[in-house]
Amino acid sequence: MNAISINNINKHFYDPVEFQVLKDISFDVKKGEFVAVTGKSGSGKSTLLYLLSTMDTQYDGKIEINGTELTGLSQNELAKFRNEQIGFVFQFHFLLPEFTVLDNVMLPALKLNKKSKDEIEAEAIASLHLLGLKGNEHKKASKISGGQQQRVAIARALINSPSIIMGDEPTGNLDSKNTNIVFDVFKELAKERGQTIIAVTHDDEFAANCDRIIEMSDGKIIRQ
């Protein structure tokens, strides 16, 4: 079973004019693969990612993740799936500023409610340690550096042990030092934990070090 399997995806934007952003996209991603999606601005890569994330449901075609067909599910069902199986890292960290670092990481797990609060807290602390954020657990999210915030966002994406981590330019806002830290974390997750990772990126060096590159241009896949 593939981690991700998409078939004949077509998507149009209608505002301001009709424009086809994705043209007949099909590909598979195996479990444990670390995939980079590259392409010029406007090639449709972020759009594709948001379709995969289950947040965008306006498309033609089929999307299957871990054997579950997502096309046609209701918003609530998709939200549940997202909570459980997908960890998303955006270009901007989007932490909740009024909550502590620890709370931010724990939130998706508390929502899922499959483990006790203590278990979740322990896992969250372990995650933060893994990402080099020991000692920052109880600081307010708005009070740490940009690089640290992005790493907290990654810890948050990991908390429910999702089958897939999706990143939309996860290192776009980071300096080279932090970019390397993040990249190493991803690599380790893929290798050691068998985590499937698919990341949209403009960073060619980042992409080159992944297992596989999917290159897009004008809404089509030109290399995979």
């Binding site: 965008d56 918003q75 909570n83 009024e98 929502k111």
Partner: protein, 412 residues
């Protein structure tokens, strides 16, 4: 507390000033509702008290104008013409002859709180040269006092003194002033039959009603009966009070079965009293409800602003897997918290305001301070209205929040 409520709590506590403003607007609305309605209820009560200082709930009297029987009945055959000029109906009965019997029957009814007999006639009061008209009231001091608390309004003397002296009389202050007499002076009372008797003034009546104080004179009913040569059980009016003045008309209907004399409830005699009381109540509720609604708009505004400011957070929460219902719960919880806290503070504040009003000096009827009433229903209604309005005001922005499209927000 589940996750959504925890998030709501963080939202609330992290912007303390905004929370305070929201709570205060609810509290203000609720406390004003309580203050206005308590005050209005107090005013209505005073109005009632003033009314019932002189009016009884039920009055029985001999209504002479009713049932005028024709002197000569209309002839049956068509060959006869009937013409009667200047017909005079001579009533053989005036007033109520066996009033004591009626009184006792009334006292047997469970709804009746008290009965008093009165003998009321117009007389002339003479003091040396001046001649002033007055309404003489022969009363049963104990019963009259039970119904109207008359002794409260007697100054410079005592109501019970009337029973001790058969020539004692109490004049209204205005009347005494018109005649030019004070307590201790004597006056002469002249009836319409031409009977004259000297009385000593043993007290003055200050009821607060100018009309009453300018025309009333009080003596015992026994003295009055003697003055007008009536027998022991004679009265012109039988007055009765019920325990609850609201059911006076029903009780009056019952009483009508007991006697042929005219039985009138206070509502029949004075319908404008009920209407004005009702109007005052409507006014109080309308104004205070309006204030609460305005407070509701305030809450709506604040919640709307909160949702707008947190729109990115909502998108993130949705990206994490929180669904629309969760988002509604998060923001509705905040509104409910504001409504509850604001509500309790408002109840407390409202009570404090009413207590403050209670001690403001103001002379009306028997009160020396502003009239207020402490009614549980005002507090319950205020809290309920406040909560409902806050819920509605909070629900609409919450619903808007739940419909946020995360993709739109996060992709910018």
């Amino acid at each position: 507390m589940n996750t959504n409520q925890k998030i709501a709590k963080v939202h609330l506590t992290s912007r303390f000033r905004q929370l305070l403003v929201a709570i205060l607007s609810v509290s203000f609305g609720i406390s004003m509702y309580i203050a206005m309605n308590s005050f209005m209820a107090g005013v209505n009560n005073i109005q009632t008290e003033i009314t019932f200082t002189t009016m009884s709930h039920i009055k029985i009297y001999n209504d002479l104008s009713e049932e005028i029987t024709p002197i000569i009945p209309k002839p049956n055959d068509s060959n006869t013409i009937l013409m009667v000029n200047n017909a005079r109906n001579i009533q053989y009965t005036q007033g109520i002859k066996n009033a004591d019997a009626i009184k006792n029957e009334l006292l047997n009814l469970p709804e009746i709180n008290g009965v008093a007999l009165q003998l009321n006639e117009k007389v002339f009061i003479r003091n040396g040269v001046s001649n002033t008209s007055a309404s003489l009231s022969g009363i049963e001091t104990v019963n009259e006092n039970k119904l109207f608390e008359t002794s409260k309004y007697i100054i410079n003397g005592n109501l019970s003194e009337l029973d001790k002296r058969s020539d004692g009389i109490i004049l209204g202050v205005g009347l005494a002033q018109t005649i030019g007499v004070k307590v201790g002076n004597t006056i002469s009372v002249l009836t319409s039959e031409g009977v004259s008797k000297t009385f000593k003034i043993i007290g003055l009546l200050e009821s607060g009603s100018k009309v009453r104080d300018k025309t009333s004179a009080l003596i015992t009913i026994q003295t009055a009966r003697q003055l007008f040569s009536k027998n022991k059980s004679y009265a012109t009016d039988v007055l009765a009070n019920t325990y609850d003045y609201n059911n006076a008309s029903e009780v009056a209907e019952k009483v009508r079965q007991l006697t042929g004399y005219k039985v009138e409830s206070w509502q029949e005699g004075n319908s404008q009293l009920e209407s004005s009381s009702l109007l005052r109540d409507i006014l109080a509720i309308a104004v205070s409800l309006t204030i609460l609604i305005v407070a509701g708009f305030g809450i709506y505004n604040i919640m709307n602003m909160t949702v707008n400011e947190k729109i990115k957070e909502i998108a993130i929460l949705k990206a994490m897997g929180f669904n629309g219902k969760d988002v509604i719960e998060i923001f509705l919880t905040q509104s409910v918290a504001i409504g509850l806290i604001g509500g309790f503070v408002g109840l407390f504040l409202g009570n404090v305001i009413v207590q403050m009003l209670d001690i403001v000096t103001f002379k009306i009827a028997s009160q020396n301070t502003l009239p207020v009433a402490y009614r549980l229903k005002d507090y319950l209604l205020a809290f309920s209205f406040g909560l409902i309005i806050t819920l509605i005001a909070g629900y609409l922005p919450s619903r808007k929040a739940s419909k946020v499209d995360p993709v739109e927000i996060l992709r910018g």
